[in-house]
Each structure stands twice: as C-alpha cells, then as structure tokens.
C-alpha cells in the first residue's frame, strides 16, 4: 500500500496551485463566486467522508453547515460580535449539536443511521426556519460582509475586497482539509476503518465504538460548521432552504461522483459538479473575454436556457453511476485492472497455443 510521497501529493499540489493561481487572472466577481462555491462544497463533501470512514453515511451534514451559518449570522446580527469570533463560534455550535444529536445515533447502523440523520437534519432546519430571531422563512439578512471587513487589507495588497475574502476562505479551507487528511491517516483513521469493517471485532480488542464514531462526527461537524460560518459572512444573507435535504444529497453526490474510496475523491466531484451546475455563469464570464462570435452566441444560448442545466448534472450522475463503479478518481485503477486482465488473457492464450503446438 505504501506509495511514494510525491506521487500521492501531486494531485493535491496541482489543485493547490490551480486554486491560488487561477483567481489571480479570473478575478471578476462572478468567477470568484464560482471559486468560493467550489471551495465550500469541497470541504463539505470531504467532511461527509470523514463520517463515512466509520461506515455510516450521514444525511444530516448539510444541516450542520446551516447551523454554523445561522449561529455566525445571528451572533453578528443580534449581538454585533466581530467576525473572527462568530465564525469559530459557529463551528463550535455545529460541533456541539453534532455531538449531542450524534450520541443517540451512534448505535444505529447503515440505512437506519442514514434515515434517522436525514429526518433529524430536516427537523433542525425546519425549527430554525420557524424561529423568529433567525429571520423565519425569509432567512437572515444584513450579515456583516467578509469582503468589506477585509477592504483595508485588500487595499494594502492592491486587490479587491472579495478577492481578499476568497483567499481567507481558501486558507481556512486548506487548514480544514489538511487537518481532516491527517485525521484520516493517523491511528484514529485506521480505528474508524476497523469499525466500518466489523464493529464487534474492533470492540473485542478494546476500541470504544461510540467514542470513535462521535469523534469522527465532531471533527466533520466542526469543519462544515466553520465553512457555514464563513459562508454566512461571505453571502451576507442566508436562507434555511439552501441548507435543506437537497444540499446534503448533493454533498453525497459530490462524494460518490468523485469516488468515496480516496481522500481526493469528494474534492474532484465537488469541483466537477459545481462547474457543471454553474455552466451558464461560467460561459457568460468566459464570453466576456472571448473574441469568437460563435462562442459568444453559444454562451448566450446556454444562458437563455439555464433552466435546463440540471439535466447536465443528472446526466453526469447517471453516467458515473452506470459506467464508473469507483467514481472519477477510480478511473486509473479501473483501466489498470482492465489492462492487467487483458495481459493475463493474452498469456493464457499464448500458453494454450504453446500447449497445442506441443500436442
């Protein structure tokens, strides 16, 4: 299993360079929005996978992003706390609620865990939407903006406010991803995998299943809550409907499209699907810089029919579901396996031929 360090870290390095370098050139507001969405989705999908390590698929992860966002937003709006306090508090709140609700759920298995967490997430978000202080069904507005907070720093560096906000978000995301990567690759990660394979065997050698399951839930909820808090300050207005069942389902889809077997899988899935979902915005941004008339016309046509773009996403989903059992990151492995099989067949054929000649 031991691979050379360079080969494993190469994809991460490419992503890192891309996420730092591309926003330098593509620095319009709509491009930065796309990058920010990708970063949020990436961390959220990876955090979902942290819980999956212990063998359970959580359907409540999107709701914890909502808890983080609403906590940060409400603290800032009602109590006027500064941003560097509200965002961590959002993460802490998400962790707390995750641990409190996760404790009774820790003993549920497979589909029962998934369904239970799904209902719980839905109930929490509906309760938030029924809460007057949280803005009710209209959502929470006029949250202090991260971009304007960073205006001073941005002017010093000679960039725009939202660009500075993007880099702050990126740094937080990188820290989150590194911590979750370490979490997976240390002893705890191995223990979680053991729990996923057989809880009874793991418990028999002295592993406390509830403790480790809750640890995974806590770590995952902390980082998704962090992203939620930042999101509230970046978007300045949040609505409960954007953290509903649909968000969770899509996070699960990012993970499955990318491939849940590897750490980089959810990241790849999130990047791809966010780009496909935002294809009309993307093309509009691109056509601003393009000289080709046909391309401008094409992107306008896409923009006019943007109601149909979810079909593209659905098509990607179905193609991956039918053709790529291990997701996008599994493609090299699938090809390698197919090649090995073909080589084996050739060998057998050659042997049979040899045998035939001898006889």
């Amino acid at each position: 299993m031991k691979k050379s360090g360079f080969k494993t870290s190469l994809p991460f390095l490419i992503l890192l360079v891309a996420f730092i370098a591309l926003p330098m050139f593509l620095n319009s507001r709509s491009w930065i929005d796309i990058f920010v969405t990708i970063v949020f989705n990436m961390v959220a999908a990876v955090s979902l996978r942290v819980i999956l390590l212990s063998g359970n698929l959580s359907f409540a992860q999107g709701c914890f992003m909502g808890v983080g966002a609403y906590t940060a937003g409400m603290l800032a709006v009602h109590l006027g706390l500064p941003m560097w306090l509200t965002i961590p508090l959002g993460a802490v709140m998400a962790t707390l609620i995750g641990l409190i609700t996760g404790w009774p759920f820790a003993r549920l298995k497979t589909v029962y865990f998934s369904m239970g967490t799904m209902f719980m997430g839905q109930a929490i978000m509906l309760l938030i939407s029924a809460w007057k202080a949280a803005g009710g069904a209209q959502g929470l507005n006029r949250i202090p903006s991260l971009s304007s907070e960073l205006k001073g720093v941005a002017e010093l560096l000679g960039v725009k406010g939202y660009q500075a906000a993007y880099f702050v978000i990126l740094i937080l995301a990188i820290v989150s991803l590194v911590v979750m990567f370490r979490f997976e690759h240390c002893r705890i990660g191995a223990t979680l995998r053991a729990l996923a394979q057989s809880e009874d065997v793991a418990a028999s050698i002295g592993v406390n299943p509830t403790f480790y399951r809750l640890l995974a839930v806590g770590v995952a909820c902390f980082f998704i809550g962090l992203m939620g808090g930042v999101q509230a300050h970046y978007m300045t207005s949040i609505s409960y409907s954007s953290y509903s069942m649909n968000l969770t389902l899509w996070l699960i889809m990012y993970m499955m499209i990318g491939g849940s077997g590897k750490f980089i899988g959810p990241m790849v899935g999130a990047i791809l699907i966010t780009l496909v979902e935002g294809v009309s915005n993307l093309l509009t941004s691109l056509s601003g810089a393009s000289n080709s008339e046909a391309f401008v016309a094409f992107s306008r046509w896409i923009g006019e029919n943007s109601a149909y773009t979810p079909f593209l996403t659905a098509a990607v989903l179905l193609v991956v579901a039918y053709l790529l059992p291990t997701g996008l990151v599994g493609i090299p492995d699938t090809i390698r396996a197919a090649k090995a099989k073909r080589a084996e067949m050739r060998e057998i054929e050659a042997m049979m031929k040899e045998g035939g000649d001898n006889a």
Binding site: Q122, A123, L127, A130, A137, Y240, L249, T313, A314, L318
Partner: protein, 283 residues
C-alpha cells in the same frame, strides 16, 4: 369531526404513496429515494391530460397510473436489478431521477398555481358536519385500492411469493419462484399506486415542484417507523402520520407545524430504530 376526516384522507393517501416504497424496501432491501418524484410525475401527467388535453379526470388518472406502472417496470430493470447490493449507486441514480423530475416540474410550473380539476363537486352533510364530496371520493377510492393491495399481499399466490422473496431471495428462487418477475410486477404496482396518490393529492393540495420532496420525507418516515416486512404496520403509521400532519399546523404557524411531527418521529426512531412493527433489515 373535520380533523378526523382530514386525518383519514391524508393518512390513506400517505399509505397509498408509500406502499410501493415499502414493497421495494421489503423485497429488494433497498430504498428508492426517487419514489416521491414518481408520485409527482404522476400528478403532473394527470394535470396535463386533464387541463391541456381535456381528458376526463378519471381516465387521466388511469392513464397516469398505467404510464407510471411502465416506468416502474423500466426502473426495476435498469436500476434495482443490476445494482441490488449496491446502495450507493441506487442512491446516485435516484438523485439523478429526482433532479430530472424536479427540473421538468420547475420548467412546467414556473410561478403558476396549478390544481388538478376536482373529481367530485358539492358537499355532503353527515351527522351535522359538512364534508366536500371530493374528500369522500378520495377516501373511498383510496380505501378500495388499499383493500385490493392488501388482498393481493395476504391472499394471493403473488402475495405469498412476495413474502417468500422478502424473507429469503435465494430460497425463494430455489423453490421455483421467478424472483425478477415478482419484483417487476411489484415495482409496477407500487409506482402506479404512488401515481394515483399523486393524482388525488394534486387535486387536494395543488401541484408544486417540491411536492415530491415533501411526500418523499413522509414516505420514508412512515415506512421506517413501521419497519421492514410489515404491511399492517404501515396502515397504522400512515394514519398516525396523517394525524400529526393535520393536528400540528392547527396550533403552530408556518414551518414549526411540519418540524414538530418530524422531531417526534426522530425520537420514536431513536427508541426503536428497526421500526415498531417489522423486523430489522440485514444489509
């Protein structure tokens, strides 16, 4: 009295919509998240047949049911049969289906308010309470369909085969039961029942692109609450679900009315995760 009637009507619609889901859950041991979307597609189909093509209500409902039964057959062939042991991929395909259904519904609905024309006009007075004929018809037809479904499950060869398959697939196959045929028939019936429920609910509550999601949540809750392998349990939990959905919006405004029933269900599921009437599903 009105509470009772509304409970019964909603309950029976929930039960009808969730029967197909429960069949699939029991027999194939997997969950079909797209079931609510199929229910929505049935309702939209019925609306367009009635409103755009001018077909009679009842004929439209039958056509919608038949079309959706064909969809059920197709789904069994391309979705459940190939990926039976693969929960992830079934979830992926059903999310794909949900996306497609919702997008179509969004494009068709826009901001319009669409309601399927009523099935029966007028009001009947029973014991001093006036009830719209619509509710009575909905309840009556729902009850008849439910009784037919229960008869099939409990007293026919198909029902016994279903029971055998849900207990032990391999054993059933060894006994000479054509598992794939049974699953296909059951999927077709289940999806068609969901479509019928959609047609009635489309007249009762109107059409919207999130009606599938709302129903999906209800279906999941009452089937999980009843537990795998229990048909009678679904009747009880369906009625309870209908009652909760009628009673809470009376006392709590807005989303709290729908949040509290879900919270209650979560607590109940924590007490007994495998459901109250069935057995635990091995996965």
């Amino acid at each position: 009295m009105n509470i009772l009637i509304n409970t019964l009507v909603l309950g029976i619609m929930y039960i009808l919509a969730s029967l197909g889901f429960a069949f699939i859950f029991n027999m194939l041991g997997t969950i079909n998240l797209a079931h609510g979307s199929l229910y929505m597609v049935g309702a939209y189909l019925c609306y367009y047949l009635c409103a755009a093509a001018g077909v009679n209500n009842w004929v439209a409902m039958v056509i919608a049911a038949v079309v959706l039964a064909a969809v059920g057959l197709l789904l069994e062939r391309v979705m459940f049969r190939p990926f039976l042991a693969n929960f992830d991929r079934i979830v992926m395909i059903s999310v794909g289906l949900i996306t497609i259904g919702q997008t179509i519904a969004n494009i068709l609905t826009g901001n319009k308010a669409m309601v399927i024309p009523t099935y029966a006009k007028g009001i009947t007075t029973i014991a001093g309470t006036s009830i719209s004929n619509e509710r009575l018809v909905t309840f009556g037809v729902g009850l008849v369909l439910l009784l037919i479904a229960l008869y099939i499950v409990n007293y026919t060869a198909l029902g016994r085969q279903m029971e055998a398959v849900s207990q032990d697939r391999l054993g059933a196959a060894l006994q000479g039961i054509n598992i794939n045929r049974v699953s296909a028939i059951v999927c077709a019936i289940g999806v068609a029942l969901a479509a019928v429920a959609g047609c009635f609910m489309g007249a009762y509550l109107g059409l919207s692109s999130n009606m599938g999601d709302t129903m999906n949540l209800r279906i999941l809750m009452l089937v999980m609450l009843a537990g795998a392998g229990s048909m009678n349990g679904i009747l009880i939990t369906g009625t309870v679900m209908g009652f909760l959905d009628v009673i809470f919006p009376l006392y709590f405004a807005g989303n709290a009315g729908s949040a509290i029933p879900i919270a209650i269900i979560v607590v109940l599921l924590l007490i007994k995760p495998e459901g109250f009437f069935g057995h635990e599903l091995k996965m």
